[in-house]
Amino acid sequence: MKLPTPPGPFQPGFWDSPLRGPWMTSILGLLLLLLMGITSATGLLSHAAYNPSLGMNAVVPENADLPLTFNWPTSPAWLYLVNQGLHVTTGFAVIPILFAKLWSVMPRLFQFPPVRTPAEGIERASIGLFVASSVFLLATGICNVFYYYPFDFNFVVAHYYGAVIFIASMLVHLVIKLPTVFRAMREHGLRPLGESLAETRSEPLDHAGLVARTPLDPTMSRRGLLAFAGGGSVLLTVGIAGQTVGGFTRPLAFLAPRSQDLGSGPNAFQVNKTFKASGIEINAVRSEYRLDLKLGDRVVESFSRAELLAMPQHTERLPIACVEGWSSTQDWTGVRLADLARLAGAENMDEVFVESLQPRGVLREATLSQKQFLAKRSLLALKVNGADLSLDHGFPARVIVPALPGVHNTKWVSIMTFRGSTA
């Protein structure tokens, strides 16, 4: 029995845009692949940058993770800044390209009957996951960047598993559709980009049903559509990228959460967690403050801030780069972590567990690898740009390690426990 085709978008005659067709979808697909390739790669790298195999660093449970992490390097110092700047800015820039790509394939959603063969069924299931995960990643990413959490799930966990679904479904889509893309590029190359509105014609009818059977006159050329979507990408890039690049571009980032010019003082740069939000008592950072160095369970050294200031001081120009994409490069002065490790007799230890005075919070602590605490440029900073750290920037002392994700540069440090591998 043959079912009658429902009305509206299920009727092939409903679709009348002269721009839809395999070439249009292919070129948008290639752009999407490029941008989503960048966000996927930088996303997985960021996951590795947290060194989830150390201590309690893992946010995604270690026994439920993919074996893609490695000992994150400490050089170049701007590695994490560039990685996250690319991840977040590209994530915004891809929004209009995804819209355009989905627009170009909308007739496929209303194909009737929806499934003709088992192959189509399995492919549509996979496409469903692809569309769901791509919109999901962008939506949750936007929410996280703006600290807007209208959900109870853990952003990191959901964004990570969403990305696994996305990458799995993107790769299969790529394998299946690459021949179509090659064919479209072989037949037309980039020639359609040279066509003005008056020269714009429908593509020849295709098997997939993307090309309209009765197209209207075009109101936009193909290059016009690409310029529209690409212009949107450029606009969002301009609106966001300044929070990563900094300097004179920061105030230009009119859509970014961290574009504010905070003035010119030594401590006038962006904060990820204010002292007020940390819940630390003021006495804990003033008169009562001590830094304890522990070797396993044993406290081997304990210093006041004055004693730390009496040690050899080093100054390093290092960025603090947040997972949310913003960053800020400053001159930090303090004691080398390697010197503290030597004083504790812990140079051969595998890792150091750094704890903040913060009474609670998932990011009150972080574990650094041996490579990280022995790196020459890794500091327990006491000053920034020549002045004492402000309370918001981690007074009395904070960790600053090259290429480390911002939140792992623990502020208000009170205990550093050197230990053997916990793995």
Binding site: L102, A119, S126, Y148, F153, L235, N272
Partner: protein, 153 residues
Amino acid sequence: MKRIYGSTPLHLLAHLASLALAGWAILQITDARAPWQIFFWLIGSVLLHDALLWPFYTILDQITQGLTIAGDRGRVLAINHLRIPAGLSALMFIAAFPAILELKEGNFTRVSGLGYEGYLGRWLLVSGLLFAGSAVLYAVRVRRVAAVARPAQ
């Protein structure tokens, strides 16, 4: 294979590999915090685009085309002069809606010591500039077409 399955063995193998990996991720989600909300958001993401945003902009575009094509002066299409600034304005809104609407601003203030004032104004300002630029461009193009159409006096 082709007759029963409808495609090549490679098609089947590639999809089984992909669905297995996606299935693994879905399985991990069931152990995460608030798994049903994650699934709800995944399904909601498809609905947000396919059932809300796409029909909305399609219908809006159809209406605008209907209104403008009849009134197009000469050969200058007015539709793109509306479509493009409107599309870019909507895009900026989508990209920064939590700041523009000052949603849960307290979270942001607590961690950063800053607020979300200024975002709504800047979004309106940039949108206004885009519409104004588009209007100027339209006026120039209409005049140019009219000048060409009118015989020199």
